[in-house]
């Protein structure tokens, strides 16, 4: 997938974040969101035990004990705190993380996601995925809308294993931003220059705008 698409998604998600929020960024595209925070005062939490995560270290600063959940070296900022894994997941599960940004394999039309079990591979890793889905106040998923094989990740019903019953709030893809009201998926806005009819055809089922005004005026 092109670097561009990943950055389009990350940049759009950064717009959703607000001053003062505690945010957990998953591995992959979610990690890129940190590059687009600009002057926003957002506090990054990593589930292995740090609130106030900073950028990657220079070689001089490198401390291999100090890593993020993706096991990459990180730094910490002023006002940061370290805690153990039980306390870290207490923060997550207890609803004290404002936003979790997560990668995903599939999202169904009601916002349930499948992001932990890669199909046709032994299922031996879950990490903090399910805790974040169940616990974060708001969940934003970040993924390209189509797989390398051209299959839509937005699906009428999950065919991969669910990550939990909680519905996500937003799915930011390279084509569009989706939200999930009780009656099913709606398009918040397009990020690619396609009509909603064209996008409907690509995903294989009819899509609607959240705001009907956009529906009529698209393109």
């Amino acid at each position: 997938m092109s670097q561009d698409k990943r950055h389009v998604i990350a940049k759009r998600i950064a717009q959703e974040l607000e001053n003062g929020q505690v945010v957990n960024l998953g591995v992959g595209i979610p990690t890129l969101v940190a590059s687009y925070l600009d002057e926003k005062e957002v506090y990054l939490q990593t589930e292995n035990g740090l609130l106030g995560m900073g950028p990657s270290p220079s070689e001089d600063e490198l401390d291999i004990d100090l890593i993020n959940a993706g096991k990459e070296p990180v730094t910490y900022l002023r006002g940061a705190s370290f805690f153990n894994s039980a306390d870290s997941f207490a923060l997550i599960r207890g609803g004290h993380v404002d936003v979790a940004v997560l990668g995903t394999l599939q999202v169904d039309v009601y916002g349930e996601i499948a992001n932990w079990a890669v199909p046709n591979q032994p299922i031996l890793g879950v990490g903090g995925a399910m805790d974040l889905v169940a616990g974060a106040k708001k969940v934003i998923v970040a993924a390209t809308l189509f797989t390398k094989d051209g299959e839509s990740k937005l699906v009428p019903q999950l065919t991969y294993k669910t990550s939990g019953i909680k519905r996500v709030d937003l799915f930011v893809s390279d084509y569009a931003v989706f939200t999930f009201p009780p009656d099913g998926v709606k398009v918040v806005e397009m990020l690619e220059d396609v009509t909603i009819e064209e996008l409907s055809e690509k995903v294989g089922f009819p899509l609607e705008y959240l705001n009907p005004h956009l529906q009529t005026s698209s393109r």
Partner: protein
């Protein structure tokens, strides 16, 4: 009274079939020296409770490659390629738990709590066979506490009583594991005098710790290397 012992002195504390709680996330906070000592023992059929089974050919990975591990309980073994293959062949038993559930279950084990209800994993494959209960209108599943015969942890400093403090994200699972082993062994970078650690800042009180050894590993760039 001092809990400081030579590294080789801990070998006798383990026995075949033990359930061992091993601290660490990736290799950060992993008791590498203690694991090396385990390699020198004639014990087998271990159940290991740890987030993962080592990384980069180090830590618990060595123990696994030696064939000592019968079962692993943890949250993320996808990075352990050899373990995944062994599991596929039926040579390794794996119990997968969400990371937060794993951490909480170990905390409960040390705290005399029999089990707890969590929202995490409700409705997923990892909830299969687990009791579900509605509490205040929300769905929860029951998870049982986890304890160990021996807990092996890594800390930054210990005093001679066994009080421990940790270093950055190397803290991870170590403080909970230090509460939940019948025998608790801590590997530390530095041993200090009693009184040198601030009482407000001690993370693991000495009551939990039975033995302390000096770590033989030091950080060198992106690796942990043996220093002696």
């Amino acid at each position: 009274m001092s809990k400081i012992v030579e590294a080789c002195g801990i070998r006798q504390l383990f026995k075949s079939g033990d359930q061992i709680l091993a601290g660490g996330f990736g290799l950060s906070g992993t008791p590498l020296t203690i694991i090396d000592e385990l390699l020198e023992t004639d014990i087998w059929d271990l159940t290991i409770v740890s987030n993962n089974l080592g990384d980069n050919g180090q830590g618990l990975h060595k123990l696994f490659m030696q064939g000592k591990i019968k079962k692993a309980i943890g949250s993320f073994f996808s990075i352990n390629r050899e373990a995944v293959i062994a599991w596929t062949k039926g040579e390794l038993d794996i119990e997968l738990l969400p990371q937060g559930t794993l951490a909480e279950a170990i905390r409960c084990g040390g705290a005399g709590i029999g089990g707890f209800y969590t929202k995490t994993a409700v409705g997923t494959e990892l909830a299969q066979g687990k009791e579900e209960r509605i509490i205040d209108g929300e769905r929860y599943i029951f998870e049982k506490a986890i304890k160990g015969d021996v807990a092996i942890v890594r800390a930054a400093k210990a005093d001679r009583l066994g009080n421990l403090v940790y270093h950055t994200t190397a803290r991870n699972f170590n403080p909970m594991m230090a509460t939940a082993g019948k025998i608790v062994i801590a590997e530390v970078d530095e041993i200090v005098e009693v009184g040198a650690l601030d009482p407000e800042y001690i993370v693991t009180p000495h009551a939990y710790v039975d033995y302390v050894i000096q770590s033989k590993y030091v950080k060198s760039g992106r690796e942990y290397v043996e220093s002696r």
